[in-house]
Amino acid sequence: MRRRPGWLRVGPATVLTLTVAVGALIAFGLRAPATPDPGEATAVAGRPAPALSGATLDGGRFALSDARGQVVLVNVFASWCGPCRDELPLLVDAERSWSPRGVRLVGLNIRDGADAVRALLDETGATGLTVVPDPDGTRAVEWGVRGVPETFVVGRDGRLVDRRQGVVTRQWLEQRVAPLLAG
């Protein structure tokens, strides 16, 4: 048998290497989650809270910068969002019981109408809530909001401490907000 050219002899090795490489790549790709860990992408702790100020639903004014020294819960909500309706009473209740210890609740009401919000506040017993309307949703985007409901915790120093995507639970409030109230 005649000698084969050099490339034909290295051929099988190349094909084998390439196959292993592609296989390894696919195996790696399958093992990695399709979307990156949401906690990583949405971690906000330590960042300065974006500005939030403006006229409130009841005609007053609110500025987050004036609330320095308080723990502020910024709840992004809308009357067209069912889960928001469910969690509002819990948040209002938390503010009521924690306000002596410096907790303030602010609603950032996105893409909504004034009448619809008032009706929602009446229904959920949240009539006293400070609501900053955000009719075109641009303030919420500035906060990096991904959906409603979403709740941000702003510490006494004006920095973000935590965020909750989706409905807030009593347990979450106890675990994430209560520890900030000491002192």
Partner: protein, 300 residues
């Protein structure tokens, strides 16, 4: 063999032209006319699965489009706007995040494979290859290799073409069917009824009826009107249905109840007629009770 070369050249030119056209179509389409669309097409909607901000109808995506428009109006350039979004949403907000690490490999390996395959094919098929190699160009060995290469390339082209065709066929199926406005109106009306907002529900039913006159919807409307307290309109609507279908149980039920509310003497007869045609109707037991306890129409 001249025509063979011409054929190969023709196929190659056609493929290259098609690839160029496809690239131009997919790259050039978004927003040459609309810069807001161009920028938002590069942003991933954070509330959706695999949809860009340009395509999504979710409220957050609408708000993000507004932000893009505002910032463009302030004279910011697209790169700055993308950076602004990355600061708030992370690098994954970009539909086309910079290729790094494994992602780069994902692009690199297929390209390398194609190059290596092409090089190997060239070495086998080039007439000169025989001179440096073992087999004369037309020995059975070389012919076998050529045939294998050709079959393999035809196979690859067929595979790609069939995937392209099948993907195109499957695509329309994944798109949601456009919502039927009448069905939406009916669903809304039903929701309003469960919230006991019968006035609003009746309005929705009337809207649905304008688009699709249907006795089933008319009866729902009659019930909503009755519950909203508009007995006269409920009676009119029920009579409208009964004119076409004199033994409609629901028509008789609404008419009878409306007559009873307006203290009409015909109420008893209508409700007895209802019981006669639909003795097993869910409301029959209640109507029997009404007829027994309130023999005089609306006696209580």
């Amino acid at each position: 063999m001249r025509w063979r070369r011409a054929l190969v050249a023709l196929v190659l030119v056609t493929l290259a032209a098609a690839a160029g056209a496809a690239l131009a179509r997919s790259a050039g389409d978004p927003g040459r006319q609309d810069p807001v669309r161009a920028v938002s097409a590069g942003l991933r909607c954070p509330a959706c699965q695999g949809e860009s901000v340009a395509d999504s109808r979710s409220p957050i995506a609408v708000a993000m489009r507004q932000v893009v428009a505002d910032q463009l109006a302030q004279g910011r350039d697209p790169t700055e706007i993308r950076r602004w979004f990355v600061q708030r949403y992370g690098a994954d907000v970009l539909t086309d995040p910079p290729a790094r690490g494994v992602r780069l490999l994902l692009w690199g390996v297929p390209v390398l494979t194609l190059l290596a395959g092409g090089y190997a094919a060239l070495r086998t098929l080039r007439p000169g290859a025989a001179r440096t190699g073992s087999a004369a160009p037309w020995t059975p060995d070389a012919r076998g290799a050529r045939r294998a290469w050709r079959v393999a390339s035809v196979g690859v082209v067929a595979l790609v073409a069939s995937v392209a065709i099948v993907a195109d066929r499957l695509d329309p199926l994944t798109r949601p069917a456009p919502a039927d406005p009448v069905a939406v109106a009916l669903q809304l009306a039903h929701d309003l009824e469960t919230q006991q907002r019968y006035d609003a529900a009746a309005q929705m039913y009337q809207e649905a009826l304008r688009d699709r006159p249907d006795d089933g919807v008319r009866l729902r409307l009659a019930f909503a009107l009755l519950r909203a307290g508009d007995g006269a309109a409920a009676q009119r609507t029920a009579r409208d249905v009964l004119a076409r279908e004199p033994d409609s149980p629901d028509g008789l039920l609404v008419l009878g109840l409306a007559q009873r509310n307006s203290r009409s003497v015909e109420a008893g007869d209508t409700l007895r007629h209802f019981l006669a045609v639909a003795p097993a109707h869910p409301a029959a037991a209640e109507i029997r009770r009404l007829l027994v306890t309130g023999r005089e129409p609306a006696g209580r």
